[in-house]
């Protein structure tokens, strides 16, 4: 069958392989040590737990993908969410698989090393430079620390580097290559992932967009390409770099919202419709009824005094007897009672005294604390009324009736003021079930309440309702069943009252509505601006003036610190400066017509600056304008972009600037020395990076290279 031999040609970049292995070794060895909660694990941990329990939460610090990745690790490790993340330094119980919690960030951190190697190669520098860049990243203590715990920076860096690498791969591959757009798609997807992990990713994504637009603009200007081809390519690029990331970003939220479907601690920040969509959220309480009572609402009013048997304010087409057994007279108006069974006669309609309508206007006009209302009995259309007539069983209190005008100069007194008693805890608005309301009679200031007595046979043994000026005892009512009345005619209304209430309108909130609401909340909720012992300002990061103590052993001096490798930070800063100086010189000289380097090298130099200096700038400069609490680890993405810069610049200098052989040799010696010192300082800070071995106080003091570093000693 086989016409030709089945041959697999494999090319393995051994440098790449070696670097990857080293990266895995530095990032993954002894990952579960220390076996305690380290620094911000306490923050991300709570969200992981909530994911495991599928409880809804809002984290205003960033989109959900990062949390989901951490939770995925936890899920694979069989974490059940039953761990209280309350304190840094708390021991993990044996049931928690620490390795699985930390594995995914560490993997991402390790993969950054080969990625930066590939990225530098894509910028058309030599493998030696690429190895240099990867080496700097490999031996960067702060990145190792940040990767080895359940934190998100390494994930963010991974996606950022992947996005840039795959975009450059797309750009450099020949036009005929069919896999070309797959790289662009990968670039778009990883941008979306980066933005999904932290909002900071947006700025890198914007840089990528600018690069893509410039390249597309050049494509448009290329008159060798036909109009049709230009159109097709532009559209393809727009889809890959713009449409796909946007859709993916929304998709993270889709997953987030489908996973978290139970009510939780942050419910009350969301709209009631949103809460109703959560299991056990508002839906359990209001059962899908409208939350806010409005004019025209049809309600049943449950007395809070009649525990344990509930009863509802009730009326029926029977009047009070003209004379009671005791001989006292009554108003002979319609009875109002409290009835312990569900009944269509329990329905009342809230009416605005200034309006004739008995249906809810659009938009609904909510009833608030202090508003004056009338209550109309749904089936008989009598107004809830009270007047200075003694109540049947409790003569000291006022009778409450459904008003009938017998034309005996007994005016209707049917205005009631709404007094939301728990407005402090809930809100001024009268809410279904949640609000406790006292109904105060406007004319007499009496309060509608149960007297505690039962009516005799003429009142069907129902409970007596009176108006009482003594506020003693519970006199509040809550709306239990509620719907917005729609019918304008009495017949329709009766039919409406007979229909069941459980019209679940709210639960059908669409995903888009939820997404928009959640996103808006996340962006607008103000974080409490808090000082932190280890917070720092962005300008301190460049020179690494601060560190962060991540963990201290409970009894010994073993500790983990976020401290970068001072030598590589220095090298990175130096190369940043050198690039800018060189760029300014080149540009001014080119403007005056001097071509110092070949055009090809100039373009290489420009794209290096665009990715590295640009990447640094977009990941650093926005922090200068931010007002939130910032930490040293926020600088790490920016730092990563600087690492290819120094080897690339050295190579540039070696090929184009140093003509004399002696200079070149001197450069090589310098580079070797720098590489050695990077490695040595990495070794020096290893104990603070891995937390082992424990150091003595003197050794720790020797590691305090900067006055401003805060290294902890345990006095013994």
């Amino acid at each position: 069958m086989l016409q030709r031999p089945l041959v697999v040609n494999v090319q393995v970049d051994l440098v790449l392989l070696l670097l990857t292995l080293l990266a895995f070794w530095t990032r993954l060895s002894q990952l579960s040590y220390p076996n305690t909660v380290v620094f911000d694990e306490v923050y991300y941990g709570q969200f992981v737990s909530l994911y495991m329990k599928r409880v809804f939460f809002i984290d205003e610090s960033g989109p959900p993908l990062g949390h989901m990745i951490l939770s995925l690790g936890a899920y694979l490790g069989g974490f059940d969410g039953n761990f209280v993340w309350n304190r840094i330094g708390a021991e993990y119980p044996s049931a928690v698989n620490v390795l699985s919690l930390r594995l995914l960030p560490a993997l991402c951190g390790a993969l950054c090393v080969p990625l930066i190697y590939l990225l530098t190669l894509q910028l058309r520098f030599s493998p030696l430079s690429a190895a240099g860049a990867a080496g700097l990243l490999l031996l960067e203590n702060s990145l190792i620390v940040q990767s080895r715990f359940m934190l998100l920076e390494s994930v963010l860096i991974f996606f950022l580097l992947l996005a840039f690498f795959s975009y450059l791969r797309f750009h450099s591959s020949p036009h005929s290559c069919c896999l070309r757009y797959a790289w662009l798609l990968l670039s778009g997807a990883s941008s979306a992932a980066a933005v999904g992990v932290k909002y900071m990713g947006v700025f890198s994504y914007l840089l990528l967009l600018v690069m893509a637009s410039v390249h597309t603009w050049n494509l448009i200007g290329d008159q060798a390409v036909s109009h049709l081809s230009v159109c097709v390519q532009s559209v393809c690029r727009a889809v890959c770099v713009f449409l796909v990331p946007v859709l993916l970003y929304v998709f993270w939220f889709y997953v987030h919202l489908s996973l978290l479907n139970r009510s939780g601690p942050h419910d009350q920040m969301m709209s009631s419709a949103f809460q109703a969509s959560l299991q056990g959220g508002l839906s359990r309480i209001t059962q899908g009824q409208p939350l806010e009572v409005a004019y025209g609402s049809q309600v049943t009013l449950r007395s809070s005094a009649s525990q344990p048997i509930p009863c509802w304010l009730h009326s029926h087409k029977v009047n009070y007897p003209i004379r009671y057994e005791s001989g006292r007279g009554s108003s002979h108006q319609q009875q109002v009672t409290c009835y312990p069974f569900k009944d269509v006669n329990n329905w009342w309609i809230i009416k605005d005294p200034d309006r004739q309508d008995l249906f809810v206007s659009s938009p609904p006009h909510s009833v608030r604390h202090g508003d004056v209302i009338q209550l109309v009995h749904g089936m008989t259309s009598r107004f809830l009324n009270s007047h200075d007539v003694a109540a049947p069983m409790s003569p000291h209190a006022q009778e409450v009736s459904g008003y009938i005008d017998f034309n005996v100069s007994m005016q209707a007194q049917n205005l009631w003021r709404v007094d939301v008693t728990n407005r402090e805890a809930e809100s001024e608005v009268w809410k279904t079930i949640l609000s406790e309301v006292r109904l105060v009679h406007v004319n007499t200031s009496a309060v509608l309440k149960l007297s505690g007595a039962s009516l005799p046979d003429w009142g069907f043994r129902q409970l007596e309702v009176v108006g009482d000026k003594l506020f003693k005892g519970s006199s509040s009512w809550t709306v239990e069943e509620h719907r917005y009345g729609t019918s304008q005619e009495q017949n329709d209304r009766e039919a409406e009252l007979h229909s069941p209430t459980h019209i679940d309108v709210n639960r059908n909130i669409s995903f888009w509505a939820k997404f928009v609401e959640l996103q808006w909340k996340m962006l607008t909720v103000k974080q409490e601006d808090s000082e932190h012992k280890y917070s720092s300002s962005p300008l301190e990061w460049i020179t690494m003036q601060t560190n962060i103590a991540y963990w201290l052993h409970s009894s010994t001096n073993a500790q983990v610190h976020l401290i970068g490798n001072p030598v590589s930070w220095g090298v990175a800063n130096l190369s940043l400066l050198a690039y800018q100086v060189l760029a300014v010189i080149y540009m001014l000289r080119r403007r005056r017509g001097f071509r110092d380097i070949p055009e090809d090298a100039w373009h290489q130099f420009l794209s290096l600056g665009c990715v590295c200096v640009g990447g640094w700038a977009v990941n650093f400069l926005p922090f200068l304008l931010m007002e939130k609490t910032l930490f040293l680890y926020h600088y790490l993405p920016a730092l990563c972009f600087l690492f290819p810069l120094s080897p690339a610049l050295l190579e540039h200098a070696h090929t184009h600037l140093l003509s004399c052989q002696a200079y070149r040799r001197a450069l090589c010696v310098c580079v070797l020395a720098a590489a050695m010192s990077v490695f040595l300082s990495y070794r020096t800070f290893c104990p603070l990076t891995y937390g082992i071995p424990e150091l003595s106080a003197n050794q720790l003091e020797a590691l305090r290279w900067k006055e401003s570093w805060d290294i902890l000693y345990r006095r013994r």
Binding site: I220, G221, Q223, R592
Partner: protein, 793 residues
């Protein structure tokens, strides 16, 4: 003439390239005529048009020949003016041509006349204080009275207002205490008239700017018309406000910058220098009125940078020449404005030498300059002693005095004890008594001095409460502890004790009044008395929070000085308080201004205007009057104009995208289109940049924003409208064949003019005042004109 002219021509790459093709199209006989005409071209007017009856085909590239008229006629918007009816002036001609010159000046006169008459009409109405006149009128009066005050804006605008008032006989006695106060006999027309004059220049400047940028009278007239008949621009110019003055300088800067750009081919001549210097002066003026002037500085700066970059790329210029250009610009656009700006402040400090309401915002040293201030030629006991009455001032700039009053912290904010705040005004409640630990000192003889390390108790003089702190969180800065007033008549508890430390001092050093920096360390908790600079909510009367900080960093926020010191038992010594150097005062007043600006936070209950409201004319500002019986003036842009501006922005964007894609794809365009694309990209781009620079920064501002902040941006937007609509109308021949395209163009211009005029007729009561029922009631003058629910007239 011809020789110099050719030189200049070479330097005009774009136009000079275009021109030959233009002439190749021409008939044989007109070539001579044309070249004669070209010879007469000046640089200023690069439009190449021959006024010749024979060469219609040539002239169609730039102008629109009317079928019945063989002259090249301008398609400009001059149907309304009487100049057009003369016929002779409505021609496209070169500026050397006298008729062109006269036409240009006639149009300019017309614009000026309309502009001044609309702005000065009913300038005296209403005869009471409107809106922010209460501030700026008052501050003008302060200059006349020479009393020191504090304002968040630099002084030039208010100085000019004061000067205008002074020149017209206003004596500075009107208190301007609140909007609605009647002016009565006070002379206020000068100040209002001055602002209106400034505002009247805006349409004129707009006309000239657009004319320079587009070389089209039509575009210039559209821009000027839009501004002249915008009710918002009229209203904001008619009152004693900083905005007309600010906008005058902004527009003057842009105009002189563009004029300067036009001089690029004859550098270092006197007009070149003149426009450079004028640009610098206008920049200083703009910044001297409001910090919004920074945006126009940015615009000019960007323009200058690109200009220098172009010069650097010009290999005919030697590096020395480039250096000269650079130096000239540094001098004219940086050093000169800086010098003028500093001079403004020098004048400000020299004029205002009397103590006034602004003293408390400034440091003790600053206050010693002011006649009438208690620190001016002060004499008081030199060293702090027990039993003294003192005021304590925080050392951060614009830090207040340690203050307390009878009000308590509300429920839920720490413990419900008496408030202690920092207050920026001088007040009896700023006085504190210094007591020894424990006893009230009643010893006779000279009192002991307070020394570094001593433990003292500070008793508030008015309320006799002690300065107290405890382990409750502070109201705003949650990581700090609350500071309260506690105890009565000086009896308190151990939490009332504070250790005095002189910064940089040693144990036993006495505390110098005014000159020592003092820290107050709380004995019980070890925290340090701290002014966070955060404003307390309403319950704290919006004074500044005072806390006790557990972080013992040495910052000015935790350092205090003793300012007043009263102790009858000690001899007073005249303190030669170091009067601050002028530059120190300058820096200090700037920091105070910036603090003040960022302190203008929106209040919870106030309706806050959002930047996105502005271009859609969402809501205006009430200048005067609320209800139906009052004389009402409402600042609101003419909605037709504003919405047209908004639409033009979108139109402009799409036109630019189309043009630039076409250019990038190398699609061939004829001469006329190429010129349009240059005007659109260069001129329009500059205006769009101006609009963006004056609008976008507001989105990032945390301070309270008002509708009138949009007006500088609106000027740029209106000018852009002029260019955009003009080019759009001139591009009608893409749709229709001539002569129909010309008809369409004419119809478009007439409709445009008519709609602006008619809408002005409809909305003019907004500016000139209206009374009677509100717009939603029938019978109102504005009935049916409340097109948006959010307008409140």
């Amino acid at each position: 003439m011809g020789n110099t002219h050719r030189e200049r021509f070479i330097n005009l790459p774009l136009f000079s390239i275009c021109r030959p093709s233009n002439f190749r199209m021409a008939k044989e006989e007109c070539i001579t005529q044309c070249s004669q005409a070209v010879d007469t071209l000046t640089l200023r007017n690069r439009k190449t048009t021959c006024v010749s009856s024979d060469i219609q085909k040539t002239s169609q590239t730039l102008s629109v020949p009317l079928p019945e008229d063989t002259q090249c006629t301008a398609g400009h918007l001059s149907e309304d003016d009487d100049t057009h009816s003369d016929g002779s002036s409505a021609q496209w001609t070169d500026s050397d041509n006298p008729s062109e010159e006269s036409q240009s000046s006639v149009l300019l006169l017309l614009v000026a006349g309309l502009s001044f008459s609309t702005r000065l009409y009913r300038i005296m109405d209403p005869p009471h204080v409107c809106w922010d006149e209460t501030h700026f009128g008052k501050m003008g009066s302060y200059y006349i009275n020479r009393t020191f005050f504090f304002d968040v804006h630099p002084p030039l605008g208010k100085m000019l207002i004061g000067l205008a008032g002074y020149m017209t006989g206003y004596d500075g006695t009107f208190p301007f205490s609140k909007p609605g106060d009647k002016y009565d006999h006070h002379n206020y027309w000068g100040m209002r008239g001055f602002c209106a004059m400034m505002g009247s220049f805006l349409p004129i400047f707009a006309y000239l700017i657009v004319l320079e940028l587009s070389r089209s009278h039509t575009a210039a007239l559209i821009a000027a018309t839009v501004l002249i008949f915008d009710t918002g621009c009229i209203t904001i110019s008619q009152y004693i406000l900083l905005d007309p003055i600010l906008m005058f300088f902004i527009m003057a800067a842009v105009l002189s910058m563009i004029k300067f750009n036009q001089q690029e081919f004859r550098p270092f001549t006197s007009p070149w220098w003149l426009w450079l210097v004028l640009t610098g002066v206008s920049l200083a003026g703009a910044l001297g009125v409001k910090f919004v002037g920074l945006f126009v500085i940015l615009l000019v700066g960007l323009n200058t940078v690109s200009d220098l970059w172009r010069l650097l790329g010009d290999l005919h210029l030697s590096l020395v020449d480039v250096g000269k250009h650079l130096l000239a610009r540094v001098t004219g656009l940086i050093l000169l404005p800086l010098f003028l700006y500093v001079t403004i402040f020098a004048v400000h400090f020299v004029v205002l030498n009397k103590s006034g309401p602004g003293d408390g915002f400034f440091s003790s040293a600053f206050q010693s300059r002011l006649i009438g201030n208690n620190l001016h030629n002060a004499s008081m006991p030199e060293y702090l002693a027990y039993g003294s009455t003192i005021t304590v001032k925080n050392l951060r700039i614009a830090g207040g005095y340690l203050h307390s009053h009878w009000h308590l912290y509300p429920e839920g904010v720490g413990s419900k004890q008496q408030q202690v705040t920092a207050y920026l005004h001088k007040d009896y409640n700023n006085l504190w008594l210094v007591h020894r630990q424990g006893s009230n000192n009643s010893q006779s003889g000279p009192p002991d001095l307070v020394r570094h390390g001593d433990i003292i108790r500070l008793e508030h003089k008015e309320t006799t409460r002690n300065l107290h702190s405890h382990l409750h969180e502070a109201p705003m800065t949650k990581k700090h502890f609350q500071v309260t007033g506690y105890g009565i008549n000086g009896t308190g508890d151990a939490n009332d004790l504070w250790q005095v430390e002189v910064c940089g001092g040693h144990r036993g050093d006495p505390v110098k009044v005014l000159r020592s920096k003092v820290r107050f360390l709380h004995r019980a908790t070890g925290c340090v008395l701290y002014s966070s600079g955060k404003t307390l909510p309403k319950w704290g009367w919006e004074q500044v929070e005072v806390t006790c900080s557990p972080y013992l960093k040495e910052t000015p926020s935790s350092q205090w000085n003793i300012e007043d010191h009263i102790n009858p038992k000690l001899p007073n010594i005249s303190l030669s308080v170091l009067k601050p150097h002028f530059l120190e005062s300058l820096v200090e007043s700037h920091i105070v201004m910036i603090r003040g600006n960022s302190g203008l936070k929106p209040k919870d209950n106030e309706m806050n205007s959002k930047p996105w409201h502005w271009p859609i004319n969402y809501q205006g500002l009430r200048f005067s009057g609320v209800n139906g019986t009052e004389f009402r003036v409402y600042l609101l842009g003419n909605p037709v104009v504003w919405w047209m501006n908004l639409a033009s922005l979108g139109l402009y964007a799409s036109m630019v995208v189309l043009t630039s894609v076409a250019l990038q794809r190398g699609i061939t365009m004829d001469q006329k289109r190429r010129e349009h694309s240059v005007v659109l990209m260069r001129g329009g781009g500059l205006l769009l940049l101006g609009w963006l620079l004056h609008y976008a920064p507001f989105f990032t501002m945390g301070r309270i924003l008002y509708y009138h902040h949009y007006f500088p941006a609106m000027l740029f937007s209106s000018m852009l409208t002029g260019i955009t609509l003009d080019i759009l109308l001139k591009s009608t021949d893409l749709l229709l064949r001539p002569p129909y395209s010309d008809w369409l163009q004419r119809v478009g211009q007439v409709v445009l003019l008519f709609s602006v005029l008619y809408s002005f007729y409809l909305f003019h009561p907004l500016s000139y005042g209206m009374s009677g029922p509100l717009a939603h009631e029938p019978g109102s003058a504005m009935a049916g004109l409340k097109w948006m629910e959010s307008w409140e007239f």
